[in-house]
Symmetry: C2
Subunit: 232 residues, 2 copies
């Protein structure tokens, strides 16, 4: 009996370690594939297929898909299945405008709670970005970039708005990555955050607002062509 217990403990540890929370892994991987454009927009995602692929049950997949649906990365129709969200420039433009308004209009509020610890946290995220850039990990860079902006916004203490910002960030990244191929200077993208940190450290609210506005509005240029699906 004792040995059986010990064996069970060992097995549990061995099995449980790899993932942590299973649906979390599935969620993260699918998010990566969608944002990176590996999963083509409008294509179907079958729950049972994914369950087999990730070696888990349908319920776990369902949970991951619901999380994705929450951010708008997939569309779930009642009994018609799940599909990868479309990616049109019209949506992206509105989303960027919203992001601009959310991030910039809350700076005064943000400043009231921002302390030195916030600066340290953000500096950590910046280093994460630099590492990802060095490894040519475009998705990792984008993920850390989202973490940076979300951490900054957290200081404004607007819990009902944060999920909306998260959603905007994800879609802006998706559009940016799908629009321009891999021909981007990742290092430069990371360094673009330095002025934000500087303004924050100086506790200069107007400058922070201006720097942020510039940072966000120059992420994607809608100049040349668009990866728009419908030509209507």
């Amino acid at each position: 009996m004792v040995s059986e217990t010990a064996h069970r403990q060992a097995a549990r540890t061995a099995v449980t370690r790899p993932s942590g929370r299973r649906s979390e892994t599935v969620y993260g991987e699918l998010q990566r594939e969608i944002v990176l454009g590996l999963a083509v927009p409008e294509s179907a995602l079958i729950e049972l297929d994914l369950a087999e692929r990730f070696d888990c049950s349908q319920g776990t997949i369902r949970e991951a898909l619901m999380r994705l649906n929450e951010e708008g990365l997939v569309t779930r129709l009642p009994r018609r299945g799940t599909s990868v969200a479309p990616c049109h420039s019209a949506d992206a433009q509105v989303l960027i405008a919203l992001r601009l308004s959310i991030e910039c209009d809350s700076i005064d509020r943000l400043m009231r709670w921002a302390g030195a610890d916030l600066y340290d946290i953000l500096h950590g995220k910046l280093n994460d970005m630099r590492n990802a850039a060095r490894d040519a990990d475009e998705y990792g860079l984008a993920a850390h970039d989202r973490a940076f902006h979300l951490a900054l916004f957290e200081a404004a203490d607007l819990p009902l708005v944060t999920p909306i910002l998260r959603r905007c960030l994800v879609h802006v990244h998706r559009f940016k990555i799908m629009k321009s191929g891999q021909l981007r200077d990742l290092e430069e993208t990371a360094e673009r955050h330095v002025p934000i940190l500087d303004a924050l450290r100086a506790r200069d609210a107007p400058r922070l607002a201006e720097v942020l506005r510039h940072h966000i509005s120059t992420i994607v240029d809608f100049g040349p062509d668009l990866t728009d699906g419908n030509t209507a």
Copy 2:
């Protein structure tokens, strides 16, 4: 044999109809209670308790809670449980600003696809609002009001933005209802939509923008006092 088939049909209809989709019912009822303030902000929601109350399984409750989480009406922490979302004026102010920007900035785009059928649909929603107002059904009125604005925005064909607008609408309604007691003129709230319909019928984009802007910015006045939780 014929009678047995007929009976089976009748039974199926009788049993299936009441609920339709079970998680849908749970979702709708919980949404009502939260928006109406019947469920107090920050209070805990236990999955198994709800499962017993609605006489369904835990998974069904979980699905409903996830939908609620999607709109930000509840907060789900990994292993700490689910709680009703807070309701502070700071969030509400930002949400109203976002709503304003989403609805008003897409009118040009909207006009390009709007036809006579859209006017008819919206007119139907207006009548729904009038009926709810006559019945003193404040939640019904709010629900039809959301449907009105969402139907209008649908014409802009920005599927990635629609869920964000839905979220803003729900929270604005919640804040509005929780702020002012029941002392509101429901009939007047319904009639406030007539100018929007008029401008749409006239296909006058600038006027529609102006009317909408006024409509939205006068929904809640942050003048006197605030039902703010923290006094920080």
